[in-house]
């Protein structure tokens, strides 16, 4: 299973990579929204995990692109714990789940697995 992680904060990115690789996933990384869109257009992923605050192209724009063009690609958005309004907006755009930072490793594992199982089974 291939997961694209979109995050410009190096420390958060390393924690995501560490846990997801430990869980056995193949990870690709994009450090801004523009790079994320380029990778999404030229590669195949089973899941995208994206922060919302990104340089150049925002996480919302990445999410919007995916839901308009690759409806079967699930997206988990990362957010700060105090961003209720932003999270609601992301859900309106079609986000499949969200994880608040800082996240527990167990929560990350469960939410990723749950979505991948759901989408593999054809929702």
């Amino acid at each position: 299973m291939r997961i694209l992680v979109v995050e410009d904060d190096e420390m958060i990115l390393r924690t995501l990579e560490f846990r997801l690789k430990k869980d056995g996933y193949e990870i690709a990384v994009a450090k801004d929204g523009k790079e994320a869109l380029e990778k999404i257009k030229s590669n195949s992923f089973n899941l995208v995990i994206t922060d919302l605050m990104l340089p150049f192209v925002t996480g919302m724009e990445v999410l919007s692109y995916i839901k308009s063009n690759l409806a079967e690609l699930p997206v988990i958005v990362l957010s700060g714990a105090d961003e209720e309004g932003t999270i609601l907006e992301a859900f309106k755009l079609g986000a499949d789940d969200f994880i608040a930072k800082p996240f527990s490793p167990g929560e990350l594992t469960l939410r990723v697995k749950r979505l991948l199982v759901r989408y593999s089974a054809g929702r």
Binding site: M11, I12, T15, F18, M53, D82, K101, P102, S104
Partner: protein, 131 residues
């Protein structure tokens, strides 16, 4: 009594008294991988001063939007090392920048953050030596 004092004074890296940081979350996340913990601490040494410097530079040109965004991002990063006193000040900076408050208040918080970060760095360097 003498033995008791000796035992309480003996601190390993894991029992080190932290005032700024708390590595509980990171240790839980690492699941025993000390290399990962070390990597994250070394990233902290690089990332935090860089972003604090960015906040200061944004503030000098009154770019409150970037002050807010930088503080917002950094808040999550320092929380990984349990630096709550830093996270709470970054939250205050975020709120002040959003409210377009006077730069002076934000600058005071920034100065506090620089000092707290110096303490954090000392603690973490001592931890790395002890590991």
């Amino acid at each position: 009594m003498g033995i008791f004092i000796l035992l309480t004074m003996e601190l390993s890296g894991n029992e080190q008294a932290f005032k700024v940081c708390n590595l509980t979350y990171l240790r839980n996340f690492a699941g025993g991988d000390e290399g990962f913990i070390r990597q994250m601490i070394e990233l902290f040494f690089i990332q935090v001063p860089d972003e604090l410097n960015n906040i200061r530079q944004h503030l000098t040109i009154n770019n409150l939007s970037d002050v807010k965004n930088t503080a917002h991002k950094l808040k999550s990063s320092v929380a990984l090392l349990g630096a709550e006193s830093m996270a709470s000040r970054l939250k205050q900076i975020e709120d002040l920048a959003l409210a377009e408050a006077a730069a002076e208040g934000i600058m005071d918080l920034h100065c506090e953050l620089v000092q707290i970060n110096e303490e954090a760095v000392k603690e973490l360097k001592a931890y790395l030596v002890g590991v």
